[in-house]
């Protein structure tokens, strides 16, 4: 019997692990195979980019994370599964946290561990081709990997959580389109109110579309140049809002 929240949460995570470990570890292993194949070609040309591993880590983690995000609430696809989840005797917060653990905790941790375990295999694969020794992973690269492992789920992934509770199917696509809409609206608002832009439109393209494009990219540039503000904005506002609204939507979810 699970009399307290911790034991119930642990048990819920155990049940979820039983359902999702194959997709989690499987998708990570598949991407390891992709890296091994991908390293062959540049190794043959004796030129591997210094950021090869970091780039593949970002892509791989994003894919594994997206897979787990896609499978966040597979129960919504069938009424019986929805009923089973909603009426399971556990607190909504416990069920919600048990679900969130997979994309936001297990996906980055498991993928990073598997990546680091496979690193010697990548090096061996590169070595096997023309005896080429690629760059090893330096401490800086490992730090970059760990940053990516935090940034992808927290700064991008949270935007997709409310959508996973609203939409029954293809919620990632709907959430992406919604984010794109916000992005366009931000650009249009900046253009309409002549807000300061960090990138001017091309002098040769003075059309409204050219100006809109410049304003849109100014949003991106804003985040690049003012990274600390963007981090603060995300940590103090966007992340809590997205996670709390996701919880509220889960609590109020009907079949």
């Amino acid at each position: 019997m699970y009399s307290n929240s911790f034991s119930r949460l642990a048990y819920l995570i155990k049940i979820e692990w039983g359902k999702k470990w194959k997709s989690l570890i499987g998708s990570a292993l598949i991407y390891m195979m992709v890296i091994i194949v991908a390293i062959m070609n540049p190794a043959q040309k004796l030129s591997i980019a210094i950021d090869f591993f970091v780039i593949h880590f970002v892509i791989g983690l994003t894919l594994v994370f997206a897979t787990q995000l896609f499978l966040l609430f597979p129960e919504w696809s069938a009424p019986f599964k929805t009923i089973q989840l909603l009426q399971l005797p556990a607190k909504p917060v416990e069920k919600y946290l048990a679900k969130l653990c997979f994309p936001f905790l297990f996906a980055p941790v498991v993928f990073t561990l598997i990546f680091l375990v496979f690193r010697p295999v990548f090096l061996q694969a590169a070595l096997a081709v023309k005896g080429f020794m690629t760059y090893p992973l330096y401490q800086e690269d490992i730090n970059a990997l760990l940053q990516v492992a935090l940034i992808v789920p927290l700064f991008v992934g949270v935007l997709f959580v409310p959508g996973a509770l609203i939409f029954k199917k293809v919620h990632l696509l709907f959430s992406f389109l919604f984010c794109l809409l916000l992005f366009v609206l931000a650009g249009l608002t900046a253009q309409a109110f002549q807000l300061p832009a960090y990138l001017t439109a091309s002098p040769s393209d003075q059309s409204i579309f050219g100006a809109m494009e410049a304003q849109l990219f100014s949003v991106v540039y804003f985040f690049q140049f003012k990274r600390i503000y963007a981090t603060l904005l995300w940590c103090s506002g966007i992340i809590p809002i997205m996670l709390c609204s996701g919880y509220f939507l889960f609590k109020q979810r009907e079949i």
């Binding site: 039983g18 009923i83 909603l86 009426q87 005797p89 607190k91 909504p92 109020q252 079949i255």
Partner: protein
Amino acid sequence: MIQLQNLHFRYHPKRPLFEGLQVQIDKPGIVGLLGSNGAGKTTLLHLLAGLRFPWAGSCTVLGSEPRKRQLSWQQQVLFVPETIEMPPRSLQRWLSELAPFYPRFDQRLFEAIVKEFELEVSGKLSELSFGQQKKVMLAFALATQVKVLLLDEPSNGLDIFSKSQLRRIWTRHLPEDTLVVISTHQVRELGAQFDQVVVIDQGKLLFHQSTEVLNARFCIQRSTEEPGKDAVYYEPIPGGYLVLYIAEPGDPETEIDLELLMKAIVEKPEILVHLQNEKVYV
């Protein structure tokens, strides 16, 4: 145990389903929830299970609002839908995942019910037939020994032998303090099990009465000749007519045919007046 007061619910803003629904069920037992297609039986079960939320009015089950989905409440209320879709897992694994969440779950009772259903489960649950999956789910629901069990068309998908097994299992294994609300169209098969009957129609409570009172208030007879004006309702059957009369003092008590009564009420709503008070003639 269940109290609905002035309940309003709608799927579409312009098409209300329930408008001011009032139902109160105080005693445990088996309650038949009846009504025509689209009357809102399944929706009402969803509202009672906290799977849908009322637009207005109050809905309380075991003294708590279902929409809050409180832990202690969820341990005492279970809804079994009409369509079952068991997961691709073994029975043991499925049980080990779900059963610990129900404090009164009785493993021996589950095994006894599975045995009475003559079920042999090997392999994955998803590979079982629909009827077998339903039996597993019903066995689980009964073994949880929850205080309120909400069943939507429980006998759908069961063969005739299983339906009689189900009736026997209810009689034998249902705890005395459990309230079972059964939404069904198959009143001839399950009607004899009901202690109370709740009929909803066009978003309102048509009547709520105990079967004891219904049996005393109405009388069913078979007749070879066409019934006279004293018959409330009749329908032709092979070899004659099945006739519903208002029981008079001294009439022998017969078991009510709920299907016939429902048809009678739809055709002659004025007979509802005979269900208004609790007085039993016999």
